[in-house]
């Protein structure tokens, strides 16, 4: 089959059902935009989570100092429960030294208190990933039940809200992904069906003239591919424009100082494009199988 014929025939198909083609294109573009938008938010949340992880630690205040022979045993127990970056055991003396250091020139205020007034503690630095962050409450409960533990301290409320919000975004990404699958597949399938129905007479005559399966199918498959490519390019371009606008609009001393906004990596962008094209092609193929009787 010649590329010229395929292009001509595809052009004819697009022209014949242009109204539906535009509606499909808008739907595919919107679906790609919505999915990639939430995915962008999600990946930025992940990045932010990782950065937050740098500053997150759980401090387990102990009733008594942990004897050196017990440290390894406790560390193993903690690691068995959750992945951690590091565990630091602090004696009363260490805690006093840290506080003195933090007070710097004002350390004089500590002189009358003695060096053992602070409780010993274990500092646990969770792994810098979202899973650890979202399960931090569970982890904290576990640490609170360690033998000799008195209290566990961490930025509880904020981390929990962040975790819940990230889980919500995760759910939205999943839903918009399903939406993308449904719209891309079914909208394209129904457009191709319309093309087939509107060309029924022509297809019947072509059949009588001995047209092969490939002659009928290739332009219709290409139609799906074009819908996929165009739809995802439009969707992703809109997303990039929105991203660029936010970057410009919120540049300066605002939330972008805390959240460094980054666009989707090239590989992810390409994957979204590839998946959209595949889904549209699949929609086209389903319709051909169902409605094109040769």
């Amino acid at each position: 089959m010649t590329p010229r014929y395929i292009l001509i025939q595809t052009g004819r198909n697009l022209k014949q059902t242009w109204g539906t083609q535009i509606m499909t294109l808008i739907t595919v573009s919107l679906s790609v935009f919505m999915f990639s938008f939430f995915f962008l938010v999600y990946t930025n949340m992940l990045n932010t989570g990782e950065r937050l992880g740098d500053h997150i630690r759980l401090i387990v205040y102990m009733e008594n100092e942990v004897p050196p022979e017990m440290e390894e045993q406790l560390a193993t127990k903690i690691r068995q429960f959750s992945a951690v970056e590091k565990i630091v055991f602090k004696s009363r003396q260490d805690a006093f030294s840290d506080l003195s250091e933090q007070l710097n020139d004002d350390r004089d205020v500590l002189f009358d208190l003695g060096s053992d007034f602070l409780p010993p503690s274990i500092e646990v630095y969770p792994k810098r990933d979202l899973k650890s962050l979202t399960h931090i409450k569970l982890f904290s409960d576990f640490l609170a039940n360690l033998p000799g533990a008195v209290k566990v301290q961490y930025g509880r409320d904020w981390i929990e809200r962040f975790g819940s919000f990230t889980q919500l975004i995760q759910l939205i990404v999943l839903c918009s992904g399903i939406l993308l699958i449904l719209t891309a597949t079914f909208m394209v399938a129904s457009t191709i069906r319309l093309t087939v129905v509107s060309r029924q007479n022509e297809l019947e005559i072509l059949r009588l003239l001995g047209a092969t399966k490939a002659y009928f199918q290739t332009p219709l498959i290409l139609e799906g591919v074009i819908q996929g490519i165009t739809g995802s390019i439009i969707g992703l371009t809109c997303l990039f424009s929105l991203y660029a606008w936010i970057k410009i609009k919120f540049a300066g001393p605002s939330f972008l100082e805390i959240f460094t906004l980054t666009f989707l990596p090239g590989s992810v962008t390409f994957s979204i494009l590839f998946v959209s094209v595949s889904l549209c092609t699949l929609g086209s193929y389903i319709s051909i199988r169902k409605f094109l009787k040769i």
Binding site: M1, R4, I205, L206, L208, L209, G210, A211, T212, K213
Partner: protein, 232 residues
């Protein structure tokens, strides 16, 4: 019309019966063969079974009984790919034309050549020749639904001849034509036949075969009689 040299059998009907539901016998136990390069006229009254016979040859209908072989292949056992190939090699000018009304004359004639992926340059040249032969050059960019019946008929004939097929079937090809245009059609058929195309023409129009000595298959109530025309 001068007769072309003939050789092997291209169409073979062996005891073929075609019954339409519930019990209309269109063809009854007919047997004949047509050799390659022959020009055959199917004659008979309206409803005699001429169109049914053509439909059986181009596999638009299946026989109720009997065997039909086209180019050595049993039409009932043909796979879809072989059937497509056969249809590419068979030009058919249908009685109801089967043209695409919103397509131009040019586009309609180009269809069978596009189906066989002929080069655009060749398509253009071939269409120019056919338009000239059918006196349709001035109409090539006109949609076929804006043409007269006679013009549509000539477009259908040009389309059937487009691929210079080994086998050409024409159902009442001059039914809507005046004597001048009938002559154009007859001239084109003669040229194709002399180039080796096997022609089967179903017609009422005695004028197109009375001057020839080609084979005539006369159909009457589903039965056939075969004889060679005695050119007058």
């Amino acid at each position: 019309m001068p007769q072309a040299p003939v050789s092997d059998s291209i169409i073979e009907f062996i005891k073929v019966t075609k019954i339409y539901s519930p019990d209309v016998v269109a063809l009854n136990d007919i047997s004949f063969n047509i050799r390659q390069g022959e020009m055959v006229f199917l004659t008979g009254m309206s409803g005699a079974g001429k169109t049914t016979l053509l439909k059986l040859i181009c596999s638009l209908e299946r026989p109720s009984k009997g065997l039909i072989e086209i180019m050595g292949e049993d039409i009932n056992k043909m796979k879809s790919r072989d059937l497509q190939k056969l249809r590419q090699q068979t030009g058919v000018a249908y009685q109801d034309f089967k043209l695409l009304p919103k397509h131009t004359v040019y586009q309609n004639i180009a269809m069978p050549m596009e189906v066989t992926y002929m080069q655009p340059k060749q398509i253009k040249e071939r269409i120019a020749f056919l338009l000239e032969a059918m006196d349709l050059t001035r109409k090539k960019e006109i949609q076929t639904d804006r043409l007269s019946r006679g013009e549509q008929q000539r477009v259908a004939i040009a389309r059937a001849a487009a691929n210079a097929p080994p086998l050409l079937l024409a159902d009442e090809p001059t039914g809507n034509l005046d004597p001048t245009n009938t002559e154009l059609v007859v001239n084109l058929f003669t040229a194709l036949n002399q180039a080796g195309t096997t022609m089967i023409i179903a017609t009422h129009d005695r004028s197109i075969y009375k001057e020839t000595d080609h084979k005539i298959i006369d159909i009457d109530q589903g039965e056939i009689t075969i004889h060679n025309n005695q050119a007058s």
